[in-house]
């Protein structure tokens, strides 16, 4: 299903076209399509097991799609070499659901790790220190710089993970369930932080969530992933007032 490969719309930073992915007889994605525009927050919602995480992993090259086009800032990642993909990955930040902090390293080392090792964005030691401090200050955790991940609360871990994501100054940030497992107050703080980050760094964000409140506050547009396809796309207001029973089911409280 590899169709039109010429994606040159200047405002589209990320595009998926006809994405298919199956695991044996389980067809998870059945021709999924999506566009993310520059500076926008796109929220993707779907039931558990609907393929949201598979889609986001295909998007960063952690998983190989069966077919389809995945374009990040005009580059089709399915045709890139590993080296080119690694360079492109510096422009994509990924906030994992469980934070995925390196638990044998301190907060400082967690942030230094991508900075020291990424081939495109290597910095001098003095610069590294300043960048680490700046990223931690932006998430309000400069005081936790020498703590181990095991000493942090769930909300703090999520903030450190966001700081680690920001340190390479990505143009696109992918959030995988950013508020899951957090209490409502901390979840709200994370949402505010995400908005602040978007304003400050002018990033485009793709947010996967089950949290309707998070979607309402943060989304410019929403996409509902149902039966492996982009079932509905629109603003929160448009979708939440839809009469379609499949769409309505997402907004029932």
């Amino acid at each position: 299903m590899k169709g039109d490969r010429n994606i040159s719309h200047p405002d589209i930073v990320l595009q998926i076209k006809d994405l298919y992915k199956s695991f044996g007889d389980n067809h998870v994605l059945n021709g999924f399509n999506m566009k993310l525009y520059k500076g926008e927050n796109l929220v993707i919602m779907g039931k558990s097991g609907s393929g949201k995480s598979v889609m986001i992993k295909c998007l960063v090259g952690l998983m190989q799609a069966d077919s389809g086009l995945i374009s990040v800032m005009g580059k089709d990642i399915t045709t890139l070499t590993q080296e080119a993909l690694d360079i492109l990955r510096a422009d994509i930040g990924f906030l994992f659901q469980g934070s995925a902090l390196y638990d044998s390293m301190t907060v400082r080392e967690n942030l230094e790790f991508p900075l020291r090792r990424h081939s495109k964005k290597k910095h001098k030691d003095s610069n590294t220190e300043a960048l680490v401090l700046e990223a931690l200050t932006n998430v309000g955790l400069a005081h936790a710089i020498d703590l181990m991940p095991s000493e942090l609360s769930g909300g703090m871990k999520r903030r450190v993970a966001l700081a680690r994501t920001l340190i390479l100054q990505p143009k696109i940030i992918l959030y995988d369930e950013p508020t899951s497992g957090l209490d409502p107050i901390t979840a709200k703080e994370i949402i505010i932080l995400m908005q602040d980050v978007q304003k400050k760094y002018n990033t485009s964000s793709l947010i996967i969530t089950h949290d309707v409140d998070c979607a309402r506050v943060i989304s410019d547009r929403m996409l509902l992933l149902i039966d492996g396809i982009d079932y509905a796309v629109g603003t929160y207001t448009a979708l939440s007032t839809s009469e379609d029973p499949k769409i309505k089911a997402f907004f029932k409280h």
């Binding site: 952690l62 690694d86 994992f96 090792r117």
Partner: protein, 260 residues
């Protein structure tokens, strides 16, 4: 499912896994010579694997030395050959018992720890996080660990051999009143380079096998805590079995060289 098709399926799974491990090993040799070299992490792993295994290896080898001497002594006394004890014990320890016992202890101590550590990193998406930030997790996690265990094992074997010989000397000293100088003079008279070199080369391969199997099992660990347990367990089982296969091949090859 019939017996034959079950065997066929298992054989297929085994061959697929063998292919995967071979590819993994190939990738290790490809990455090991590539820059950047993770020297700091390599030294940290060497410390973790070498220093922290030392006590366990030391105690095991000391007991093996004592037991070997105690059990062999009565038989040698029967033939009036007890003076041959240092030579016999040293050759057995240096050629075979020291390397294989140390390697088995390390397969349990280091293999399981690598399998569990990388397995839990895989399950908690830490390896994925490294990958999406454009760094090379294979280089940082796998190459350093495999290299560390490959370098540390021969050192542990040498130290283990010395401790085992000391254990044997204690028995000889207590039971036969043999002095330290006499015992170790006989030991060094009977050991040749032909005993030490093949044992040291063999130890490198033991270390490589423990590192590769542990890392492979952890790196491709299945999701969930059960996956981590399985990774740690199979790292020990597979590497222990592999040690005996490597040992057999090493003895076989050494024997050919001796015959030449």
């Amino acid at each position: 499912m019939s017996g034959i098709s079950k065997i066929k399926d298992r054989l297929q799974v085994f061959l697929i896994e063998l292919g995967d491990i071979s590819y993994f090993t190939g990738r290790f040799f490809k990455e090991v010579f590539k820059r950047p070299f993770e020297i700091k992490e390599l030294l940290r792993q060497c410390y973790n694997m070498g220093n922290r295994s030392l006590l366990l290896v030391g105690i095991t080898c000391f007991i093996i030395g004592l037991v070997l001497d105690l059990q062999t002594r009565p038989t040698l006394m029967e033939f009036g050959a007890v003076s041959w004890m240092p030579s016999m014990v040293s050759i057995s320890i240096v050629r075979e018992i020291g390397p294989i016992i140390t390697a088995l202890v390390c397969a349990g101590r280091i293999g399981s720890s690598i399998g569990a550590e990388l397995g839990s990193m895989r399950v908690t998406e830490q390896i994925d996080a490294m990958e999406v930030s454009g760094t090379n997790p294979f280089k940082y996690l796998v190459v350093t660990r495999v290299l560390a265990v490959t370098l540390m094992l021969p050192l542990l074997v040498i130290i283990g051999d010395a401790i085992a010989l000391f254990g044997s000397f204690l028995v000889e000293n207590l039971k036969g009143n043999v002095s330290f100088t006499l015992y170790f003079n006989q030991v060094f008279d009977s050991i040749e380079f032909g005993d030490i070199i093949p044992a040291t080369i063999k130890s490198f391969f033991f270390g490589l096998a423990i590192g590769i199997v542990g890392c492979y099992k952890g790196y491709y660990c299945a999701k969930g805590t059960e996956g981590v347990g399985k990774a740690a367990n199979s790292a020990v089982v597979v590497s222990s079995l592999l040690l005996f296969v490597i040992d057999f091949i090493a003895v076989f090859v050494t024997d050919i060289f001796y015959d030449l």
